[in-house]
Symmetry: C2
Subunit: 233 residues, 2 copies
């Protein structure tokens, strides 16, 4: 991977996306495949696609007086759609097992060591998830020990990449956006954060092409392990 600017960015805090960035959602696909042999991967892919679509669409559709559904609700709505589309029946507790899989994820192997090496910088999560989803996950996986705060976009009543979602981190940290290092494996999230003004690290573990609809992230890395050396701590 090519570091798109040579100079080490001067950042005063690091903000991480959660799902797919610190926490591996692959275990959701494993649960799906166990419940629906040969179909689980397709189910989990369509589920994830719809889950993101629904967060974007709900944020777009809402008027200022409406309360959008939270990420737990959106996750259930998108699972129901995906199962119907693929003609899979969510009976006998399989719906609960799939939804529970989102609460019991494993951190990526490179997550904890990167968090440790980024100290003493403040390290935060800013996620679409609810606090009820995120806090037990951070605690159970041990990552909470290395985190200074877990922020949910719920406080802004929007989902990423709406600027008000990223603003939550600025309000919490009380530093200018450029001094916030933002880390996400989701290309659309990295681009949204860059448009907002953060210094952005896109974690491109699979060598995917970069989306074309907005500004390029400052850095493209293939592992969180590259992060501490890139940041001027």
């Amino acid at each position: 991977m090519i570091n798109t600017i040579a100079k080490r960015p001067r950042v005063d805090a690091i903000v991480f996306d959660a799902y797919g960035t610190l926490f591996d959602v692959e275990s959701v696909a494993v649960t799906a495949e166990r419940l629906f042999p040969q179909r689980g991967v397709a189910l989990s892919q369509l589920w994830r696609t719809k889950q993101l679509q629904y967060t974007w669409l709900q944020t777009l559709m809402q008027s200022s007086t409406q309360r959008r559904d939270d990420f737990a609700s959106v996750t259930a709505q998108s699972l129901d759609f995906a199962a119907e589309e693929l003609h899979l029946s969510l009976v006998g507790g399989s719906r609960h097992r799939l939804l529970d899989a989102y609460l019991d994820l494993t951190p990526f192997a490179d997550a904890e060591v990167a968090l440790v090496h980024l100290a003493p910088l403040p390290r935060l999560i800013l996620s679409n998830g609810t606090r009820e989803m995120l806090e037990p996950l951070a605690a159970a996986t041990g990552l909470a020990r290395h985190l200074d705060a877990v922020l949910s976009v719920d406080a802004a009543n929007v989902y990423k990449p709406h600027p008000r979602a990223y603003q939550l981190a600025v309000d919490h940290l009380k530093i200018i956006p450029m001094r916030v290092g933002f880390v996400s494996s989701n290309s659309w999230d990295a681009i949204g954060a860059k448009a907002f003004g953060f210094t952005v690290f896109w974690v491109n573990r699979d060598g995917a092409p970069l989306d074309r609809h907005g500004p390029r992230p400052d850095h493209v890395i293939s592992s969180l392990a590259e992060l501490p050396a890139l940041v001027d701590i």
Copy 2:
């Protein structure tokens, strides 16, 4: 299909989505398949998925002072991404041929007759496309004869399903949203229009499941031919 309310809706105008609703985008897939045998369908599907994603994400990301890219630009951005993702090379004029395919679409067989039978109600297009894309298409296909106006969301600097996009039809027609009959084959567009307050007809030609992230459209039809009988003209 089940008509979800028994009573004929009282609407004073009919507003149509364009791409996929009045105009068949299947010919884009045909062009893609001709250029990339065995891969064209996958290319056109990923292209369409990304095209929609980019409209939503650009609308979400933008600050009030920014100008978003227009639909012609988004269509080109999403094609470039899809081709890179699928390792297809857009050389020798194939990029232009694919982009041109969006300008040379065929109306669905049920479009013109429905428009004719809906007279004397005002009949409009409200589309994500630019006026430069839509007006020649409406003229070349002959549908322009049966349309009172062609509105592009460009005038609101957002894409559907942002409420400001639907508001353009209200501002043009000067009638309350409930009296506007809105017709779209795109489930997310039908749901967005319903959230806005239109009386909505979802054209579900393929028997797809309904998306779960917002209010249900008032009517589900399988062909535009069902429309005139449903509307109290």
